[in-house]
Amino acid sequence: MLSLLRFAFSIPLVILAFSFQTESPTYGDSIRPILAKKCAACHYEGGSAPFPLQTYAQTKKRGDLVRLVSLTGQMPPTDATSDLGELTPHLALTPPELKVVQDWYRAGMPEGPKTPEILADLTSSGETTFDRFVAVGQGQSFPAEGRWARAVYALPSLGIRNLSGFTFKPLAPKAVRQAALAIQRKGEPIPFTSTGIRPGTLVATWAPGYYTWGASKACFPLETGDKLWLQVRAVPTGKVELAGGLIGFKSLGAGNLIKTKTLGTKDISIPAEAQIHLRDEWTLEEDIDLLSIFPESRFTTEQVRATAIENGQEKLLLVVLTWDAVWPGAYNFKNAVHLRKGTKIVWEALINNSRHGHFADGGKTKNVGFGPYSDNEIFWCHLQYVSRKP
């Protein structure tokens, strides 16, 4: 049953069995380049990951885990793939890369040529390009244990007309997994519900290791009286962590206006032990440039996928094969993706509410519906785009 439901995303696993290599790969020649490309956005001193993977010694020390998490697809945690654009600098490992990791481990993790320390990949920090930083959440903290924590802050008025870039520097980089900015227009309710982001209110997002929001010349218009709210999500690390951090902003004089569209529904009901497939779609009424995709899903979700169907032709916009609810990342495309009028965007989630589900406890499961608690589920996907003159 499950195999029928799984997105038939064709990783050519056979390559593993058919490519021969005479010499075993070394750290310097084969492993270091993979780490530099796919792990350095987080595994550096002071990064979001718990330890650095910047030198041979640091990597060898964790050799068996590096191998395990690569093979299981657990790392990089944001293992999304798209046929239409670059989403993050650290995509899933390719089959040949997996084979290299495996061969290197089996060969006893040889060092090979001496190489310099891998430099931190600061893709998601936006350090140099932001004009303004504002501090939030000072003096507050996240608890040491639990499943995840959430803090919501009302921001002071920034006096910005057109917001064009956003980044977040958490005080506790190892705990914080997401920051989302949403807007409250005059007379409207707070944009964050206990469940997630109220549809139509998302402004910008940040997550460790992802491209920063604001790569294109588009902006989000703010009017006097609009209020911005920030939601920060964190995982427990075992000690009390400081909440809050610095929000970085960029603004533009003028630019294409960013619009948002939420796919999905609140009307979900997942029977105990069931494995089901949720689907929603949206047909474009104009040409658009797609900037980002922000899935909101919880613990029974195993995989999510967005496809663009134009004239019967299907293209993969985004697939996350090992969805991890504590990595609620927003996928910002490095370059906007042009989609034509009439294209159908389909948003799907594979839900596994069986005792074998990824986040199940191994015991009997219960019926799951939409709701605010961590054992409820969500089926939302927020898209951000700009209209494009045909």
Binding site: L13, L16, A17, P50, F51, A57, K60, K61, R62, G63, D64, L65, R67, L68, V69, L71, T72, Q74, Q102, A144, E145, R147, P236, T237, G238, K239, D324, H358, F359, D361, G362, S374, D375
Partner: protein, 190 residues
């Protein structure tokens, strides 16, 4: 298909070694505060808690460690944290003990004397020794983690607590060995 078989291999090599049937010879080491410690100590049981400052799974277990230490120190059981990474410094360890509110002394096992004598393989892992050095328990703290990256909402079996209660009640430890899951302890060429 191939992925699953690779995993199966890695799980098989993780089989448990039997716990030693002879007492460990006493180990004398200084903790990071400079105090001399003897393992096993003079109390009814000495618990060694294997950890590392940068293992996320061990770190997430810290609040559990803290509570167990508090509850059972009061009943006369001795606790020592064993830091397994010789590339770290006593200062780092001392800071870690405070930050994570661990509540017991810590030894930096520079030469893996304790690791080798006890056969600990991962962090977090616990070993219980009686007064004469017989091993009463070796394994996980509880079953919070099902596998890497997959934790239960809450632990179902509190293995270390159960073993300690049994010892205090003068009973034999019912499950003296459990598989520990976490960051494997590398040999660091030692």
């Amino acid at each position: 298909m191939i992925l699953t078989s690779l995993l199966a291999i890695s799980l098989m090599t993780g089989q448990m070694k039997p716990i030693p049937d002879k007492p460990l010879s006493p180990i004398h080491l200084k903790d990071v505060a400079g105090v001399s410690r003897t393992i096993p100590g003079a109390s009814v049981a000495t618990v060694l808690l294997f950890t590392a400052t940068d293992c996320p799974i061990a770190n997430r277990m810290s609040p559990v460690f803290g509570r167990i230490v508090k509850d059972f120190s009061a009943k006369g059981i001795e606790f020592i944290y064993v830091y397994i990474d010789p590339t770290q410094t006593p200062v780092q360890v001392a800071k870690h003990l405070i930050e994570y509110k661990l509540g017991a002394p810590g030894i930096l096992d520079l030469k893996h004397v304790i690791v080798k004598a006890t056969g600990a393989t991962v962090t977090p892992e616990a070993v219980i020794l009686d007064r004469v050095g017989m091993m009463l328990y070796r394994g996980r703290i509880n079953d919070l983690f099902l596998e890497h990256g997959r934790a239960r909402k809450a632990a179902i079996r509190e293995d270390l607590r159960i073993a300690l209660k049994e010892i205090l009640a003068g009973k034999q430890v019912s499950v003296s060995q459990t598989p520990a899951l976490g960051c494997s302890i590398p040999d660091f060429g030692l």
